[in-house]
Symmetry: C2
């Protein structure tokens, strides 16, 4: 195994994790700023029939819903054959956005603390208009046409980044059930140089970002996925037990926080990395997922109506057309399709101490847009169903989660999915510690992993799905 040469940066990340105040004040100050930005802006979302969606239309041959420029994204369709024990086949609309998006955060040490430059960004689908997004959200076209026309703010910092400034660079998946094999490049830069300020942007500590995830819908999905990959491992695992304890006392870390850090640097878990890889190989071989793109006009069990594309049973999600009118310093308006979920979802990790080390209960889950059949998902992920009504659901551990019978609740908040594609989608994100009598024996597509193992898989890209990464990002160590 390779020793990371990043001790120094890891230590900065950890110190930032413990900093609750930063250049933008306290967590409350940041929250007030976001709320203020929210009040300042008026967002009107007007439903439009597809025929009035300026710039968008159904392709004459395929019936796919796309933009006349061929850019942005399109609503296509897929036929799915899934065999995860029971064979199922269906067709569904899917967002096709083949370009790899770039989600980038600039960091910089300010007054001795590593800070992350986040934007108060308006997205048409956000329940509350403005959320904290990465420094940069760009597409490959933005990126490669850096010298032409209007370009996103701070793009040139990423475009001109030296290799030594890149402290994270991962390719990670988006929602497998909604996007066709979409991936984003998650980049974090660490800069020494002066970074020009802008009123839409603020410098936050990692501790502040974590604290804000305890609130509903403040930190957007893109920020969550980027920070989920941050390492602390190499610094902590380089400490002796004595120094580790000293470090924890110095930062006033709770017993739970210590145990969580200990799970991140544990030398042994219930299973080795190798066994976990074997488990995945077995499932990927055993399960089958065949996804073929089909013309949207050939979709079955869905209706393409004047103002929505909807399942016959009005389940899962529907595609709607909207005109977004944003009034802040200037007035902007444009039209686009959005996906609207038909219910609120639930994403939850169950955690349990096993042999004195916290283990996360990971689910291997097939989703139709997955890059590689199965990704590691939260213990429970009910996005498409209506988990509260338990609509024809037979989901492992859902009853347990709804029972409320835990040792403790580590996280329980609502988080939004990408507001540029999804209309007012918020899901409940939950992390609970199971009581001691929770069975350690699991169904075949579930496994226990330490936090260190989760992070190692995260580093190798495309193993953990976006919901799992969101939950990991929200873990709080205080």
């Amino acid at each position: 195994m390779q020793i990371r040469k990043q001790n120094d940066f890891d230590e900065l990340v950890l110190d930032s994790l413990f900093a609750t105040d930063g250049p933008s004040g306290t967590v409350d100050d940041v929250l007030a700023w976001v709320r203020h930005r929210n009040q300042e802006v008026i967002v009107r979302i007007n439903r439009k029939p597809f025929s009035e969606l300026k710039g968008w239309g159904f392709d004459a041959t395929s019936g796919n819903l796309g933009h006349e420029s061929g850019r942005f994204f399109s609503i296509d369709a897929i036929r799915v054959f899934k065999d995860d024990g029971k064979c199922q086949t269906w067709t569904q609309p899917i967002i096709n956005q083949p370009e790899i998006g770039i989600l980038g955060i600039v960091t910089k040490v300010i007054d001795g603390v590593l800070c992350f430059l986040l934007q108060a960004k308006i997205e048409p689908g956000n329940v509350n208009n403005v959320q904290l997004s990465p420094t940069l959200q760009a597409t490959r076209s933005n990126y490669s046409q850096v010298h032409k026309g209007k370009k996103p703010r701070y793009l040139e910092l990423f475009f001109n980044a030296k290799r030594s400034q890149i402290v994270l660079d991962q390719l990670q998946s988006e929602q497998g059930g909604r996007f066709l094999r979409k991936r984003n490049r998650n980049i974090i830069l660490n800069l020494d140089e002066e970074v020009p300020s802008h009123e839409d942007f603020q410098w936050l500590t990692l501790g502040q970002i974590k604290a804000l995830m305890a609130y509903d819908n403040v930190v957007n999905m893109d920020t969550r996925t980027v920070i989920s990959g941050l390492p602390y491992h190499s610094f902590l695992s380089g400490l002796s037990t004595y120094d580790f304890n000293g470090y924890m006392r110095q930062h006033d870390v709770s017993q739970r926080g210590r145990d969580l850090f200990a799970s991140e640097i544990a030398q042994a878990g219930r299973h080795s990395i190798e066994s976990i890889l074997f488990w995945l190989s077995e499932l990927k071989s055993k399960y089958e997922l065949v996804v073929d793109r089909i013309p949207l006009r050939d979709i079955q069990d869905w209706q393409i109506r004047e103002n929505e594309i909807v399942h016959n049973d009005r389940r899962f999600f529907r595609v709607i057309g909207v005109e977004a009118v944003i009034e802040s310093r200037e007035v902007k308006s444009w039209c686009q399709p959005l996906l609207q979920p038909m219910q609120e979802g639930l994403c939850a990790f169950i955690v349990k101490g096993i042999n004195g080390v916290y283990h996360f209960l990971i689910q291997a889950k097939i989703e139709s847009g997955n890059f590689d059949v199965v990704e590691m998902a939260p213990t429970v992920q009910c996005i498409t169903g209506g988990y509260k009504e338990r609509l024809d659901y037979n989901v492992h551990y859902l009853d347990y989660l709804l029972s409320g019978d835990f040792k403790s609740v580590w996280l329980d908040s609502k988080q939004s999915e990408e507001g540029g594609r999804f209309y007012r989608e918020q899901n409940r994100y939950l992390v609970v510690e199971a009581s001691d009598d929770f069975s350690e024996d699991l169904p075949q597509n579930y496994i226990w992993m330490t936090l260190g193992q989760v992070k190692e898989f995260l580093q190798f890209n495309n193993f953990l799905n976006i919901q799992a990464r969101s939950l990991i990002a929200a873990l709080d160590y205080q």
Copy 2:
């Protein structure tokens, strides 16, 4: 990082690596056995026009060439858009075999040495009829229908394997330029129980298998990919320097062998695993690969003729139809398409000592059937071109390899590709140690990696392509 709990098995693997004699005698004895099997069998391969290929036909709609049962594989076509600096687009035939194949080797300790059960197997495309293949080559259908009809020998050992018997379980890719995202499950079992013998099978030590790879076309591609993943790491890295040196002396390992082992357990390389992952993320984001399946009848620049599917310039490969007649103890005959390469290829690693540690020069290569845009390939991989004539080639390091100006040559033999799909394809496999003045500065899509790093990526599946794995499998430590 996770400590593997496999020390004991790793030590067995290493001991087997040093064993040149085994239950089947010496390397010469095994070679004589394979040659004898080769003489015993008569293989006649009769070219047939596609119209006379029993059981096979062109689909009325797509024109794809498939079997009437819908099983085995089919010859489909793809349209490729590739942007790795220069944009290229083309169509080509491709083998579509969506099932994950199973390549399994049974191992067992015999007289204190770990032995691998290999089969002398006839494949219609082999240049020399019989080569040493894994204990089992099966498809998912074979596997799931284990209780029905005729089944491959030893299948039930894999089907009934307990988790504790599985010592390797990886999903790895096949030729990206020929197969559409095909993968195999590579499994090794370690059994205590009696394994019934059969005249087509022999027990070989790992040292013998390695020694046989110095000969042309003895060890088949499937065996090479399975053994490429074998670990020795956890045993060796657990030794003190004193014990390491003692172990090497005890087994009479050459200085080069020691240095190679040292490269496998090196704590630091020229780049960290994390930097290598960043490098890959960057290339995967920068490069673009769009592959769409198209009907074979829509293929361009290729001719679908009575008895071949061939490129207008007669380059790359052609698809032919054959009737295979195998006469050994019984006479079997069947028809199938095969791919015939239009030239011999070259796959080569350049290795260099950097800061006292051997590093392999890895190429990030786009191939049309790749699972994830780019895979790690040998320094030079010229399969499709005719490297000897340097047909419109502009390949980094090809001139260097053809110059013969090395410090030493570690491997130079011809190895066959899968004889069940490819007609008499053999490529030259070469590993050379570069002289000290070989530049350590590389073009952007090349990187230096220690052997330990190569093996770590191998463990995480789908990072190293099959040609790279073949070369790693052939590394000899004596």
